[in-house]
């Protein structure tokens, strides 16, 4: 049994009802999908009991019907990684901050707020980071207009009329 399967088994045992989806991506890498309200509990367990000490990355994705915050954790002792997708409803983009466990969450959370407009509750310093403070839009959302230059359109799309 691989490392990621052991971790998944322990998570299933501890949180039988909370995991919406769980899978093994490749040897050493597991993935679960959860609701946003269970994030803190599961991440605390991942850090304290399972030893995922490094929060690599926080990526926010706009799937049009929902937002997803994707957290990547690393355990340095054996190099295994873990991905947690937290689902956020589209009309209420709030999620709990992880700053109290990982101080490294501060900048990525500010970035996700800046570009995607996800509000991290209880974040001590939630301000814009890359864009100017008076900017009024969230550019990585899918409803933010993106100019598609003609040369970027593939030949197949031109033939079929964009289908």
């Amino acid at each position: 049994m691989g490392v990621e399967e052991q971790v998944l088994a322990r998570l299933k045992e501890r949180f039988p009802k909370l995991l919406l989806e769980s899978a093994s991506v490749r040897p050493g890498v597991g993935r679960i999908k959860i609701d946003r309200k269970d994030l803190v509990e599961i991440c605390f367990y991942l850090k304290e009991e399972l030893g995922y000490e490094h929060l690599s990355c926080i990526s926010a994705v706009d799937w049009k019907d929902r937002y997803e915050c994707v957290y990547h954790f690393t355990r340095y002792s054996d190099g295994s990684m873990f991905q947690v997708n937290a689902i956020i409803p589209h009309d209420d983009p709030h999620i709990e901050s992880l700053c109290k466990f990982w101080r490294s969450a501060t900048y990525p959370e500010r970035e996700s707020y800046d570009l995607m407009g996800i509000v991290f509750d209880h974040q001590p310093d939630l301000r814009r980071i890359l864009l100017p403070p008076d900017y009024r839009f969230f550019p990585l959302r899918k409803d933010f207009p993106q100019e598609v230059d003609r040369q970027y359109i593939s030949r197949r799309k031109l033939k079929t009329g964009g289908a």
Binding site: S56, V70, S104, L130, L131, P139, Q146, D149, S154
Partner: protein, 359 residues
């Protein structure tokens, strides 16, 4: 004494790019610091969403102009994972060689900038002179010196010429001699030691909690090198040692980088010896669906690409984790209690690259 804020930047020799470091001082002592970034934000993540998978490589090349191959390589690895393809063995070796040559070039750029920052102006000239030799090697491989556009989804763009191994051996033999000289120059310089030893301490636990990675983390005594912890390409078949120092200060971080250059030379020579003949590139599928991520050891730390696709020939979302962006969050902690003159050595030792911070 009254406390007040001082702007170190956006135009300051210490910044190595366009960003601003605000420091709160009480006399000469720093009480707090706050990095202000975003001057170079180009929206790479947004532009990637309307370009096809292969065309994004041009953008990821420009994330960091001193280590472009490592960035496009991280992107290609993530897309290959997404498409579920395995590239030919020779392609993997060629990637490793190009990555390590790029790492040496990047570290030499750091050495030049760091030397100039803390008063070893000779280092600037020496390091840039030697960097030129490695850029020439990249030019032989890829045709371009800086934004080389060499890695492709599915392999690398072209094979190396027949006499490439000889050129590499010549450059590396020359460089290793010079590197001894530089290390002497650094270790025996009173100025250098006084300005780096005991400055900018960051303990191992703090470094991990702040998300500091790469040479800065190894300078804090953590045995973490993603090339060995999470092996990618063929790093597990090549014989090398990660460089780890235990002092947690600016001096340890710079010694880690000097030792890493030696290790990179060793990897290049070993990879050239073990490289098998055969194809170096394969044809990847046009479309992909799902999500994938890969981490690599960039010259500055952990680079992570998270790519999601919805079955189109373009990525739906590309997320870039820039190592220096996260390291910058730990800067206030490293600075507190030091003098204003130490800002330069602390910022120099963590090796800033603004292009990848601002994306």
């Amino acid at each position: 004494m009254a406390e007040f804020w001082v702007n170190m930047g956006p135009q300051h020799p210490m910044t190595h790019g366009l960003w601003n470091l605000r420091i709160k001082v009480d006399g000469e002592t720093i009480i707090d610091a706050e990095p202000i970034i975003g001057y170079l934000h180009r929206g790479v993540e947004k532009i990637s969403e309307v370009r096809e998978f292969q065309k994004v490589i041009v953008l990821t090349d420009r994330l960091c102009y001193v280590s472009s191959i490592t960035w496009s390589h991280a992107y290609c690895l993530a897309v290959e994972e997404l498409m579920g393809i395995e590239i030919p063995e020779r392609g993997k070796y060629l990637r490793v060689i190009s990555l390590e040559i790029q790492r040496i070039a990047s570290h030499l750029m750091w050495l030049a900038a760091f030397g100039a920052d803390i008063g070893l102006l000779t280092m600037l000239l020496y390091a840039l002179r030697e960097r030129e030799l490695f850029l020439d090697l990249i030019e032989i491989m890829a045709g371009l010196r800086l934004n080389s556009n060499y890695t492709r989804v599915g392999g690398v763009r072209n094979d190396v010429p027949a006499d490439f191994e000889k050129s590499c051996q010549r450059v590396i033999a020359h460089f290793l001699k010079k590197l001894d000289e530089y290390q002497d120059l650094m270790e025996n310089s009173k100025t250098f030691l006084m300005r780096t030893q005991g400055i900018g301490k960051l303990s191992k636990e703090d470094a991990i909690n702040w998300g500091v990675t790469g040479p800065n983390l190894r300078g804090s005594g953590a045995d973490v090198d993603l090339r060995r912890t999470i092996p990618y390409e063929v790093y597990d078949q090549i014989d090398w040692e990660p460089a780890i120092e235990k002092d947690c200060d600016c001096y340890a971080r710079s010694i880690v980088r000097m030792r890493e250059m030696r290790e990179s030379c060793r990897i290049v020579l070993d990879a050239l010896k073990k490289m098998p003949p055969g194809p170096y590139r394969m044809k990847p599928p046009r479309r992909a669906e799902g999500e994938a991520f890969r981490v690599t050891e960039d010259s500055r730390g952990e680079a992570l690409f998270y790519v999601a696709a919805d079955g189109d020939d373009r990525p739906y979302r590309v997320k870039i984790r820039s190592p220096i962006f996260c390291t910058l969050a730990a800067v206030p902690q490293m600075m507190r209690g030091h003098k204003v003159a130490d800002v330069v050595s602390i910022m120099g030792s963590i090796d800033i690259c603004v292009g990848e911070i601002d994306k």
